[in-house]
């Protein structure tokens, strides 16, 4: 891992990440990114409903989307793909997502220390200023930081 690698690119990585596993099963899509944030989209899916009698997306997939967007925001901010583990993730639900709407999660990595990364974000279906949920999370670096190698 000492060879310099190109900076982490969320758009390119998404093609790989969302092909398999939990993110692939949910059908996550890359939406947009900036220097310290990433937006991912979860298209509407009938089989992700949280209740029998209401056409409302379950909250679980929103957590998954936030978790994934957070990791990618951290890698985008750090410009490296160092494995991270979620330590603590909090989601506050403001309102149910609209029926048949895709949900977009925007996670921003607002602070990075040598071993921790702090993220915050929102999930929304229509406008970013009318969120479905707010999120705050702390992640730990689990891969070796090259600067610590003896």
């Amino acid at each position: 891992m000492t060879t310099p690698l190109p900076a982490f690119n969320p758009q390119e990585s998404a093609k790989f990440f969302f092909r398999h596993g939990h993110a692939g099963w949910l059908g996550m899509e890359y939406e947009d990114h900036g220097s310290d944030w990433v937006e991912l989209k979860l298209p509407w899916r009938e089989d992700l409903l949280g209740e029998e009698d209401r056409h409302v997306l379950a909250s679980g997939p929103i957590i998954s989307l936030m978790d994934m967007a957070s990791g990618m925001a951290i890698w985008t901010t750090n410009k490296t793909f160092t494995p991270v583990a979620t330590l603590d993730l909090r989601v506050d639900y403001q309102r149910p997502a609209r029926e048949r709407s895709a949900v977009i999660a925007r996670a921003q990595c607002y602070r990075v220390t040598r071993s921790a990364a702090f993220v915050r974000g929102v999930a929304y279906d229509d406008h970013r200023d009318d969120p479905v949920a707010h999120m705050a999370g702390v992640f730990m670096t689990i891969g070796k930081d090259p600067r610590l190698a003896k």
């Binding site: 949910l26 029998e52 379950a58 679980g60 603590d88």
Partner: protein
């Protein structure tokens, strides 16, 4: 007083579509609280060989709702449950094996319930993740 079999049948039937899609199942009943289980597979995989944090959260959340529904059923209540928030603590990586989760009602009020949930794999006393949830209980629209 419904017997365990009846309660279990109803409880299992109440797992939401999302939970069933993810492969979450009722594992067993313990002290009138359902223990949910999810097997390892591509649907729940995050980093190669590890459980995705979102899948773990989904299991915890469903176990929390299941515990609350079971208790409400005992009390003859059937409100609509709405999530207020959830805080998940990830304690260790979930491995390629079944994961279980069970909730505990910390406080049951008239409008709000506070539920703690633990998820574990091999050893019950070494949870891989825990969660605290606040759930709003609203009267169903007639």
């Amino acid at each position: 007083m419904p017997n365990d079999h009846d309660t279990a049948q109803k409880g299992a039937g109440q797992l939401p579509i999302y939970a069933r899609s993810l492969g979450i199942k009722l594992h067993e009943w313990e002290d009138n609280i359902p223990v949910l289980q999810v097997g390892f597979g591509p649907f729940v995989e995050g980093r190669p060989g590890a459980l995705h944090g979102g899948a773990t959260s989904g299991l915890l959340e469903n176990a929390g709702y299941a515990a609350l529904r079971a208790r409400l059923q005992e009390e003859g209540r059937d409100p609509q449950l709405k999530p207020i928030n959830i805080t998940v603590q990830f304690l260790s990586a979930g491995k390629q094996k079944p994961t279980y989760a069970k909730g505990r009602i910390t406080r049951l009020g008239r409008r709000n319930a506070n539920v703690s949930v633990e998820a574990w794999q091999d050893e019950r006393d070494r949870p891989i993740a825990t969660a605290v949830m606040n759930i709003l209980m609203a009267d169903r629209a007639k």
